[in-house]
Symmetry: C2
Subunit: 502 residues, 2 copies
């Protein structure tokens, strides 16, 4: 079989692209910087959406949809915001064959449009809190793009909330940060650091920006989600005012928070190996690929009958019957394992591929389990269950292939993936006391460095120029002992995490 994936050791960047190509997850489009998300990749976005959307709704957020187009003048109402986003805007100048009176930006983010609409909807404290979210495409013109990680158009969710008090808005900011942390760790099996951005990395227009950061297998950091406390900045710019319980007119306190299709890049870069994609079971659209092995029609009949009977025992005869008609003329049969999450088990009945090609096909697509059944397995009444993560094989009697068995197996894989990623991150996280050590570290390799540091835009800019490293975050919930600023040698009571980031 031709080797179509470069090893991580040889070329990590190429490996990443090869994993995506081998799994047919995404492709570049003819428009520079815009990607096409193919079914294998999009199914991961659907898994992310389903899980996060449920979590948002449990907390009372309601989805809505604001327009793609934002008048250029809106951006100018918040000084820092326009400075941050104007250079990245795609601009519509013509519509319906005519030049527009005012050019329109394609939304890079929607604080301005939402602020404008809220100013018409929010009048009294009774109208608060407003807890909105939208799943949408946004555009930020990028010069250097990379599939999933940085593209001119990407898909994301942007939560926007407005509150009566500063304390409530701050609470919401931290609540959503925690939603992102637990989602990343429990669902994506990616351990993340949680903290606050320094001023120079803050969202344009925010008072405080918080984030979660993961470590990729090359030791680089990836910002995986942000939650912003916007204070009254946008409320002032867009006149979001309400009559308070004290009957005084006052500005609302707002937040915004988002994650994007970038998370798919994180999953690839944290978990996959030189054979291709590896998916954490909780997010995998398909949990197992059943591969029937046969050399002639007799064996085929025997093996397929055994597979059908085993799956009927596991999932019910109705589901097997439904799955056989589900895909019309397609030969990859899909059986739903869990209706709520849409997760399935596939049976690859294609006769245009050899079993070895099928192994390869599903391995590259990252399915947690592969289940092989050949004529001799049928004779023994067994199936062979192979783990994508560690390649271990287990011979399982058909009667033992139960939901209990599979659930436990999948939970074990989920935990092992998290543990493996955490061990890797911890092994590549170091404390650092001097700038000489700091420089040498980033010259030689990658990883997280925990250092005492007094955030300052100037120092951060110089460090970035010299080492490419930036402050990823100031950890929250951690009071460090006093120490010495790694760069200036000044006394410092702030500990930060430096890394080279995507």
């Amino acid at each position: 079989m031709a080797r179509n994936i470069t090893t991580r050791e040889k070329d990590y960047s190429q490996w990443y692209l090869d994993v995506i190509a081998a799994a047919e997850m995404a492709d570049y489009s003819p428009v520079r910087g815009c990607m096409v998300i193919r079914p294998t990749g999009y199914a991961l976005w659907e898994a992310i959406q389903r899980e996060l959307d449920g979590r948002f709704k449990e907390l009372g957020h309601q989805n809505c949809y604001f327009p793609l187009f934002i008048p250029e003048s809106f951006f100018k109402k918040e000084a820092e915001h326009v400075e941050g986003f104007a250079p990245e805007c795609a601009v519509v100048t013509h519509g319906g064959g005519e030049r527009l009176e005012e050019p329109l930006c394609i939304r890079p983010t929607s604080e301005t449009m939402i602020g404008h609409m809220w100013s018409q909807w929010v009048h009294s404290w009774r109208d608060l809190p407003v807890l909105n979210n939208q799943w949408a495409n946004v555009v930020r013109w990028e010069r250097r793009t990379r599939l999933f990680l940085r593209t001119s158009e990407f898909l994301w969710q942007e939560g926007h909330t407005a509150h009566e008090t500063e304390a409530e808005a701050m609470e919401e900011t931290m609540r959503m940060l925690e939603v992102y942390r637990s989602f990343a760790e429990d669902f994506l099996a990616i351990p993340v650091l949680v903290g606050e951005k320094t001023e120079s990395e803050r969202f344009a227009g925010a008072v405080k920006t918080f984030c979660i950061e993961g470590m990729m297998q090359d030791g680089k950091a990836l910002q995986m989600g942000t939650s912003h406390f916007l204070g009254q900045n946008f409320a002032r710019a867009f006149d979001i005012r309400f009559e308070g319980r004290d009957q005084k007119l006052q500005h609302a306190w707002t937040t915004s928070w988002g994650v994007s299709t970038r998370l798919i890049g994180a999953v690839i870069m944290v978990h996959s190996d030189d054979e291709g994609l590896i998916l954490p079971p909780r997010m995998a659209p398909a949990l197992a690929a059943v591969i029937p092995i046969f050399r002639n029609d007799d064996e085929k009949a025997k093996v397929l009958a055994f597979v059908e009977k085993t799956l009927a025992g596991l999932l019910g005869e109705d589901e097997v019957a439904a799955s056989l008609t589900r895909f019309g003329n397609s030969q990859v049969q899909q059986l739903f394992y869990a209706q709520a999450s849409g997760q399935s088990i596939v049976v690859d009945r294609r006769e245009t591929m050899r079993p070895g090609e099928k192994h390869y096909f599903w391995e590259q697509r990252g399915l947690p389990l592969r289940i092989e059944v050949g004529p001799r397995d049928v004779d023994g009444g067994n199936l062979v269950v192979k783990s994508r993560l560690d390649g271990s094989k287990e011979v399982v009697p058909a009667a033992a292939l139960t939901r209990g068995y599979l659930d436990a197996k999948l939970a074990g894989i989920q935990k092992a993936m998290y543990d493996r990623a955490k061990s890797f991150r911890d092994a590549n996280t170091h404390a650092c006391g001097s700038y000489r050590e700091f420089s040498k570290f980033f010259e030689a390799g990658r990883g997280f460095l925990r250092c005492h540091f007094n955030p300052s835009s100037q120092a951060e800019a110089q460090i970035k120029t010299e080492t490419k490293a930036t402050v990823r975050l100031i950890p929250v919930g951690h009071t460090p002992a006093p120490g010495t600023d790694v760069f200036t040698g000044d006394p410092s009571t702030t500990e930060v995490v430096f890394a080279i980031s995507y």
Copy 2:
């Protein structure tokens, strides 16, 4: 209570906008022709998405995502397509502060981009069929807009498929048309006519366009979904070729099909009344609003305890407990009735509104049922269940408020809504044999006219100018007796349906 909805009789157009405003479903944005979909409206789109997406996936379609931007040159590759869509394009000329080399259209539909990508992915008959779908925003610059029905930006799904043979593509076209028909009738409770468009109403670039058409309460027709057989037109324009089973290189046969947020407009216009929105139970995000009635703290404790106990009996104690923490400081408590569909029952505990205001609030939002509980109801152990559709009230003992009771009640309402809409449509559908009668009919009123007619662009244009009516469709599965063309008097074996449309 102030009357905020104009009656249908007085001004149907204003009534429609008032219903939307009263339910807070949508609002105009500051960008002309673009709407903001507010939570009440967006929840309906989510219900539509959930149901249709499941139906598409059952048939083997896979979701994916193609870029928002399409190079202008792509449109020019299919002659009819560019003629149809170029005048409606919004054009991006600048990105990242620079003028683009080639202007980009915001997608009005994605046949061109998808055709381009397929040409790179499809090589052999083994790669077919390709069954793709995307949920996305599209932009068609409109001069006259109307919330949900016609806006410059709207949300939709666009299915795109490629097949080995003409017969398979034609089969897919009709299969998806049937999906739309059954979805409209079973889920939205809207009876629709199913048929083919005449050449002058065909999708730009299609060989055949099929559609479903509903009748609104003003007797006008609304096109609610289309399914196009594209033949090899786009395959030729974008070079989608594959090696067939006969080892010859040949062009694929493609289809496309879509429905949009316009369906929300249809639901409003078919079902609602002068009191506001009425939702068919199967699509309603919330099925019932429980309104506790009390005048003092003692009554409040008594009524709320009874409500909680009754709901715990219906939905389980766990769900009641979860719902009480679900919304933080919000006083509208949401309990999930059906996890799969996300449908809920709400308890309006707000103390800033009187019971009468709450009745009004939920009535205007179209919830199928209202459940009132006052102190005297508690004494009798009863609840009062009121139907939004016909206003009928039923006194139900708490123990009888079961899933069985509610499911039957809701199914009855669903059926009654469909039957009512169908009776209305049938009563406003007439046969017509002469153009004099035809002209008088559309002068005086609205409705569907079934006539013999030999489709011709010229005749259709003249009829439209004279009467505003157009051929909505040529019914499928119906072989009419020979007759006389209503316009020319020529012999005709084709029967069509004329109406004035949105």
